[in-house]
């Protein structure tokens, strides 16, 4: 378990300078998520168009470097994708953190793949997996109009 595997340059960068950390214009869906044990909070804003494409996605919140970086990376990767593709990416991402890496999916560019893989080190820190998945679960709640607040303890 190497700390460098967790705190990669790219994660520290996203943690310090998160992308899309705002309320995006014209969002039509949103959801909140909490990690009550830690006090992490995230609010995901989503603009899903009639073709079920993620036209825009952003987030607000507070939390550790891992949770902020993961939210930031998620918005970068999911923006512009079809919801079904986004859902696939999310499933792969969670599988990567809980079970182990899975072959990358075709719709991701090499660059996107590298970015998302930068979070794979979290798997070695079981206490931190929840931090990394919080925003992603919250995205799913937003997209599926699930009004329940995501709670990592349930």
């Amino acid at each position: 378990m190497d700390l460098k595997e967790l705190y990669k340059e790219i994660i520290l960068d996203h943690g310090k300078n998160p992308r899309n950390k705002k309320k995006c214009d014209g969002f039509n869906k949103d959801a909140k998520g909490n990690n009550p044990l830690c006090g992490d909070k995230v609010h995901v804003f989503l603009k899903l168009n009639d073709e079920k494409q993620v036209e825009d996605i952003s987030f607000e919140g507070e939390g550790c470097a891992i949770s902020i970086a993961s939210a930031s990376i998620m918005t970068e990767i999911i923006k512009g994708k079809d919801f079904n593709v986004a859902k696939k990416i999310l499933e792969n991402f969670i599988y990567m953190l809980k079970v182990g890496s899975k072959p990358s999916i075709n719709s991701l560019t090499d660059n996107e793949n590298t970015t998302i893989m930068s979070l794979s080190g979290v798997k070695q820190f079981p206490m931190r997996v929840k931090c990394a998945t919080l925003a992603w679960h919250t995205f799913l709640h937003a997209a599926e109009d699930n009004k329940k607040v995501v709670n990592t303890e349930k």
Partner: protein, 405 residues
């Protein structure tokens, strides 16, 4: 006092964490256990076990005697007037729930007021919230200032003729503030308001004399006192235990059971329904002996010395902000590091074998008041040394290195 020798009584410290020596700075959460306590539980199960207070056979007699011995030891440890004032619970949380439920049932009406403080652990807020929901009670929060102090005046100005209880912590589990209990209780006495003390962070560290203190209720969690998990103690003045209705119903807490009515025995039996944590309670006797062999005043003194050393050291570290600056501080140091979230601090420290806690420490009201979502907390026990603080400080520097601060 030979801390190395004392520390050697704790088997956990012979283990490595991630290949490193364990630096345990999470005793406010739960303390480690000396071998004597662990062995006592094991021996009790091997040689003396049976349920207590029920059967007539000789094992039951032995087990009952051992079990009741712990009650006597606790009575002496906190200088209660009588052993009947010592009620076993599963933890401090249950002690507070017991009082909130039974005292609430009998004495709290719509619009009656309960005063707590902004420093309280959720264990000393949520049970009163239930009472707010159930009975329409009003909860008032005595303010804590920037230093983390709660003054007697901040409590005084909340008191009205509707005030039915004051429930405050002995020591804050975040800022380490030692509350001015004597003054608070004196004030309450002049108004005839009972006082409950959440002693979780007091009992393991500070000399206790409940008769002198003159509080009505004092709760503690034995797992924070070098004792087993699953055991708590509620001290209550006998007059309250006589007056309050039973808490949970079941075996062991009855006097006479008829089809149309049931009568109950005196305390503490009345409040101890069902089979308790027998082996753990027997084991806790060894924790008290452990504390008394060292001397609680020596423990206070040693921890004070290490806490002051830690304060000095961390204050010199420019990236660190210490949370709270109380005049009287227990063995707790909470802090933040500029630009690094407490969870990231905890993970990086863990890599060096340094165990701290990060988060809101079950004190969301306080964190909201301070305007920070989370803090990192180093808390001490008798086994900690200056060397532990040095390693903590080094590890904090590593956080800064990783985050390029």
């Amino acid at each position: 006092m030979d801390i190395k020798e004392i520390k050697s009584k704790f088997p956990i410290f012979t283990n490595k964490v991630k290949g490193k020596k364990l630096v345990y700075l999470d005793s406010a959460n739960s303390s480690q256990k000396p071998k004597a306590v662990i062995d006592r539980i094991s021996n009790f199960y091997s040689k003396e076990f049976s349920n207590v207070g029920r059967s007539m056979h000789s094992l039951a007699v032995t087990a009952t005697n051992r079990f009741e011995e712990t009650r006597d030891l606790i009575k002496n440890f906190i200088n209660a007037k009588s052993r009947e004032e010592i009620v076993f619970t599963k933890n401090a949380t249950e002690g507070i729930n017991l009082i909130a439920t039974t005292y609430g049932e009998k004495f709290i009406q719509d619009k009656d007021e309960i005063i707590i403080t902004e420093l309280e652990h959720h264990a000393n807020y949520v049970p009163w919230h239930f009472l707010r929901k159930r009975k329409g009670a009003v909860i008032k929060f005595a303010e804590c200032d920037k230093q983390g102090e709660v003054s007697v005046d901040s409590i005084k100005k909340l008191i009205t003729n509707k005030t039915k209880l004051i429930a405050v912590t002995h020591v804050s589990n975040v800022t380490g503030t030692i509350l001015p209990l004597n003054k608070i209780i004196d004030l309450a006495k002049t108004k005839k308001i009972p006082v409950l003390i959440d002693g979780c962070q007091g009992a393991p560290h500070l000399k206790l004399d409940v008769q002198k203190l003159d509080c009505d209720f004092y709760v503690m969690s034995c797992h924070k006192m070098y004792g087993p998990t699953g055991v708590g103690v509620l001290y209550a003045k006998k007059k309250w235990l006589d007056e309050l209705p039973p808490y949970q119903g079941g075996g062991g807490m009855i006097d006479e059971v008829k089809k149309d009515d049931i009568s109950f025995p005196e305390s503490p039996t009345k409040f101890e329904a069902g089979t308790l944590q027998t082996a753990e309670i027997v084991g806790f006797a060894e924790s008290i002996r452990f504390i008394e062999n060292i001397g609680i005043k020596n423990i206070t003194q040693h921890e004070k010395e290490i806490t002051e050393y830690g304060l000095e050291k961390l204050k010199k570290n420019n990236s660190v902000s210490i949370i709270g600056d109380p005049k009287e501080r227990g063995a707790i140091l909470s802090f933040t590091i500029k630009g690094i979230h407490p969870h990231d601090i905890a993970t990086i420290l863990d890599d060096d074998g340094v165990a701290i806690r990060a988060g809101h420490h079950c004190c969301q009201i306080l964190h909201e008041k301070m305007g920070i979502p989370a803090t990192a907390r180093a808390s001490l026990g008798i086994y900690n040394s200056k060397e532990d603080i040095d390693i903590l400080n080094e590890s904090i520097n590593k956080c800064n290195k990783i985050f390029n601060n």
